[in-house]
């Protein structure tokens, strides 16, 4: 039992990392469930990496990284909206173009600034073990914002996920709620990347919510399962990082994805036995 709890009791940096991981898990459980149900993973991934030039630019001129990330996210979302509205190109073409364009811009910016090279990995993979109090405060605010929006807009969001046509019929403005959902993803990514890195945010958006979608059909239950999987992954991943000296952020994501595939296998076997192939 000592080996499972003691590392956290002895080391404040692990306590803070765990707390940050829990906050990220809860935020991502809510937002990620919408991402998975609406097939918005690509925009989530694009946001997680498209913020790079914004962050690099902010660091170069001495601005807070989070402000740069917000600008990057705004360009991403605005650009996708513009391309899909003004052309016949599909959503994922627009996302892909902006994603790769922004990422390339970020890489070029980092490479031309002599002092930023080392930060590239920090931006993408985060500094999970270097989380400080202000990161935790920002993360808590983001969680509060996400939960409030999700509760207030629960009904239109639900309709968007399961029957988009019905949204307008019920008197809601579908594009407006779609944009609100994008804002939630952007807020999650922008706030979380600094503490835990783009890789971890994206992993936590998809894997736990994926598990939720596998084992439940109700949105609230999916979110609860996602939250549970996220928190367990954070704990197990950090423990693995401690005992096996694995890179911290990657260990947590690896745990979450492993849980997904274990559950996926279990559900598949159960379906083939029961014969329920809906």
């Amino acid at each position: 039992m000592g080996n499972l709890v003691r590392p956290f009791l002895d080391n404040e940096f692990l306590q803070r990392a765990f707390l940050a991981g829990v906050l990220v898990s809860l935020t991502c459980a809510v937002v990620g469930t919408y991402v998975v149900l609406r097939g918005m993973a690509f925009i989530g991934d694009a946001l997680a990496h498209g913020v790079l030039p914004g962050v690099a630019g902010a660091l170069m001129i001495g601005m807070p990284a989070m402000a740069g990330a917000a600008v990057g996210a705004a360009v991403m979302v605005g650009g996708v909206g513009l391309i899909t509205a003004r052309s016949k190109l599909s959503n994922d073409t627009a996302i892909g173009l902006l994603f790769i364009g922004l990422l390339a811009l970020g890489v070029v910016m980092v490479s031309s600034a002599d002092s930023l090279t080392g930060d590239l990995e920090a931006i993408l993979f985060g500094q999970f073990l270097g989380v400080n109090t202000s990161d935790l405060v920002a993360q808590s605010i983001a969680l509060g914002f996400v939960v409030v929006v999700a509760v207030v807009a629960a009904r239109p969001f639900l309709l968007l996920c399961f029957d988009a046509d019905l949204v307008s019929a019920m008197g809601y403005r579908a594009t407006w709620y779609h944009r609100l959902m994008l804002l939630l993803i952007a807020a999650t990514v922008v706030v979380s990347f600094q503490a835990v890195g783009a890789l971890l945010v994206f992993g936590m958006l998809l894997a736990p919510a994926g598990v939720g979608a596998l084992i439940s059909k109700r949105i609230g239950t999916m979110m609860l399962w996602a939250a549970l999987v996220g928190v367990v992954s954070t704990y197990v991943g950090l423990l693995a990082s401690y005992h096996f000296s694995w890179a911290a952020g990657a260990s947590v994501v690896l745990t979450a994805v492993t849980i997904f595939f274990v559950v996926f296998t279990g559900v598949s076997i159960r379906h083939s036995i029961v014969g329920d192939r809906s």
Partner: protein, 315 residues
């Protein structure tokens, strides 16, 4: 489950895209001022070694530095122009031992095309990471790192002097006559070594303990009788990511050995170092271990390094 399949496929495609972009990260421009002089061209991979090579070469050749000063050599990648510079060189001077991991392929290609190559670390007493430095502390080294040579020889002016002597011979071999400049540079380096010894003389033996960002001060420690007891990222390269286990071990070492300062450096996450230092109640001093100071000389580089360590460790 159509949604899930769609989602996963897109993510996989996206990940490949990131991977291929990341491998081209850091294509800096280099100091490649393409002056069309008749003098032979000597290309040095990074600035610190470049400063010393320039001292040895003097006016006998054009010395060009590949990586911009201030960049992390562990991560830097050459641009097309840099590779052209390598291929047109009369002599390439590299550090070796995987320091310039991303340039070695281009250097080997140039060597096949007949460019002479001088690897500095072929001419030093290589410290095996995890063996010499940590010989009384089995925990500190990692199995996968055992036996890999430490490339950071430039933190010892004595090793640098050995390289200078060999470089003089190598230059003469390809017809670049530097007169007695190699001998003079070697003399200067050994004088600098004495200055370093004077600078650190006031540090008591029991305080000669170093905790660093990554394992970059092995040669300095070996030369001047310090002990490197741990590193935030226990790897010879700054590219590795911190793990909870390594940090927890380091925290214990800091407490056990009475360490008072963590010497951090470029490429080590400031956030992680700050978090660790706050928890272990030690101070943080940032060293420039991988780039030249403003006046661009090796002497100032090593004296600055020594004096910062000296100031931080004196009671």
């Amino acid at each position: 489950m159509e949604i899930m399949n769609h989602t996963l496929r897109k993510s996989v495609i996206a990940c490949f895209a990131i991977g291929s972009l990341l491998t081209t990260a850091g294509c800096g421009d280099g100091d490649s001022s393409s002056s069309s002089s008749d003098r032979p061209s000597v290309v040095v991979t990074y600035s610190i070694l470049g400063a010393v090579v320039a001292d040895v070469v003097g006016d006998a050749a054009d010395v060009k530095i590949l990586m911009p000063n201030g960049i992390d050599p562990h991560e830097w990648e050459p641009s097309a122009k840099d590779i052209e510079l390598l291929n047109q060189a009369d002599l390439i001077v590299s550090n070796g031992l995987d320091l310039e991991g991303n340039v070695m392929e281009a250097i080997e290609a140039a060597e096949k095309d007949g460019v002479a190559v001088f690897h500095a670390t072929d001419h030093i007493d290589v410290i095996e990471f995890g063996v010499s430095v940590h010989d009384d502390d089995e925990e500190a080294g990692h199995d996968d790192e055992l036996g890999s040579g430490d490339p950071h020889f430039w933190t010892s002016p004595v090793e640098m002097a050995a390289v200078v002597e060999a470089l003089g011979v190598a230059l003469a071999d390809i017809g670049i006559d530097t007169g007695d400049r190699a001998a003079m540079t070697k003399e200067d380096l050994l004088n600098t070594d004495q200055e370093v010894r004077d600078l650190i003389a006031a540090i008591p033996a029991e305080s000669r303990i170093l905790v660093t960002g990554h394992e970059s001060l092995g040669y300095f420690a070996h030369e001047y009788e310090f002990e490197v007891v741990g590193a935030v990222i226990p790897s010879l390269s700054s590219e590795a990511e911190a793990s909870a286990g390594d940090l927890a071990t380091l925290k214990e070492i800091i407490a056990d050995e009475g360490v008072s300062v963590i010497f951090t450096e470029m490429g080590t996450s400031p956030d992680v170092v700050e978090a660790l230092a706050a928890e272990a109640k030690v101070s943080v001093v940032e060293l420039s271990t991988h780039f030249l100071p403003e006046d661009g000389t090796y002497e100032t580089f090593i004296l600055q390094l020594a004096s910062m360590i000296s100031v931080a460790l004196q009671p």
